[in-house]
């Protein structure tokens, strides 16, 4: 597991798995689109509009997952002096921001026909908007310091503080009255979604993961190179 903390080991593994990951993501996307647009049935309430879920939910999960991993790397980088954590955070923050943006835009497109509004300031939507702003701040902070050593630490601390938002996003629909419905799939109970609609959701989630991983590999490799040549 050294490749998770060691840049040169990461490069070795990355060269090895990049192509398979990319091919897998293309296959999964093709399969996922086939399932979500053609094979999966209409919802009994929402009709065809329910298909927005197959983009909305995976991007939301990936937005949270990306931030959670950034948090773990920030702890590792600050506590155990693992510079790869800083490299990871710099490289991956824009990917998480894009996933959050996809989640917000697709959710907005879903909300208009179903709820009757593009946007409301309920707890779930607001906390996701804050997540997006946190991602943007991380990106801009990464661009703004003269001294790299200082910048890395400040950004990592900011990521840690921002991680407080993650449980708020997750549990906002349980803690407060929100227009957004509660979670369909939770660890503790049987999901209230039919298997024929669960299948495209799972496939699309893995497709999003693979495309995210492929872009992350490219960005991390670029970041390692630019640091070696003292550009970063």
């Amino acid at each position: 597991m050294k490749f998770l903390v060691n840049p040169s080991k990461f490069n070795e593994i990355a060269d090895y798995i990049f192509k398979p990951v990319l091919i897998l993501s293309i296959i999964l996307f093709a399969l996922g689109l086939l399932f979500s647009l053609i094979i999966s049935p209409d919802d009994y309430q929402q009709g065809s509009t329910v298909r927005i879920m197959y983009v909305h939910v995976p991007s939301a999960w990936l937005a949270l997952l990306t931030y959670a991993i950034m948090t773990l790397y920030s702890i590792a980088a600050l506590a155990f002096r693992i510079p790869f954590g800083f490299i990871f955070n710099t490289a991956v923050a824009p990917i998480g921001a894009v996933f959050t943006l996809i989640c917000i835009v697709s959710g907005s497109l879903w909300g208009k026909p179903m709820w009757g509004t593009w946007w409301v300031w309920d707890a779930r939507l607001t906390s996701v908007a804050i997540l997006f702003i946190i991602y943007l701040i991380v990106i801009f902070m990464n661009l703004s310091f003269e001294n790299r050593i200082v910048r890395e630490k400040v950004v990592a601390i900011f990521i840690l503080v921002g991680s407080v938002n993650l449980p708020i996003v997750k549990f906002s629909v349980d803690w407060w009255n929100t227009l957004h419905q509660p979670a369909t799939i939770s660890k503790f109970s049987k999901p209230s979604i039919d298997p024929s609609m669960m299948t495209p959701l799972i496939i699309m989630t893995f497709a999003f993961m693979m495309i995210g991983l492929a872009i992350a590999i490219l960005r991390i490799k670029t970041e390692i190179i630019s640091r070696k040549s003292n550009l970063g």
Partner: protein
């Protein structure tokens, strides 16, 4: 205790303290964080006429009255209390009796809620339309799914 372990402890402790602080703030402002009141939370004695609030609940069965093509009367309920609503405007696709909704507006002098915006709220259950027909055919359709 090694230095790296001390740093880890310091980070985790800081995170826990920040989390508690944020949750305390949110807990004490939950009235404002919540997007709507339920009908039973609304205290008749504390109603302020013409103050904009939001009420969330279900559209009461057999309460929907279409006055004209863009004027509607219905009741919103949480099975404990029920509030009469009048609304002029366009209703969202999912709006129907028994379905969840959030209604924005204000009470008038006659205890009727004048809605300015109606949002439909859907639940977390997803089911193919064909299964609904099967369930209805075999008599297993649970009215609560409506």
């Amino acid at each position: 205790m090694s230095l790296r372990f001390q740093r880890l402890l310091l980070i985790l402790l800081t995170l826990v303290i920040i989390l508690i602080a944020v949750l305390l703030i949110l807990y004490n402002t939950r009235e404002n964080v919540s997007y709507f009141y339920t009908p039973s939370e609304i205290d008749k004695s504390e109603i302020i006429i013409n103050k904009t609030i939001r009420i969330g609940g279900f559209i009461e069965n057999d309460s929907f009255n279409k006055i004209s093509s863009s004027s509607f009367k219905f009741r919103i309920t949480d099975e404990k209390a029920s509030i009469p609503v009048s609304y002029n405007g366009i209703l969202p696709d999912l709006f129907r009796e028994g379905q969840g909704a959030v209604i924005e507006g204000a009470f008038n002098n006659n205890d009727v809620f004048n809605a300015t915006n109606v949002f439909a709220k859907h639940d977390e259950n997803y089911m193919p339309a064909s299964i609904k027909e099967d369930l209805k055919d075999t008599g297993y359709w649970n009215k609560k799914y409506k």
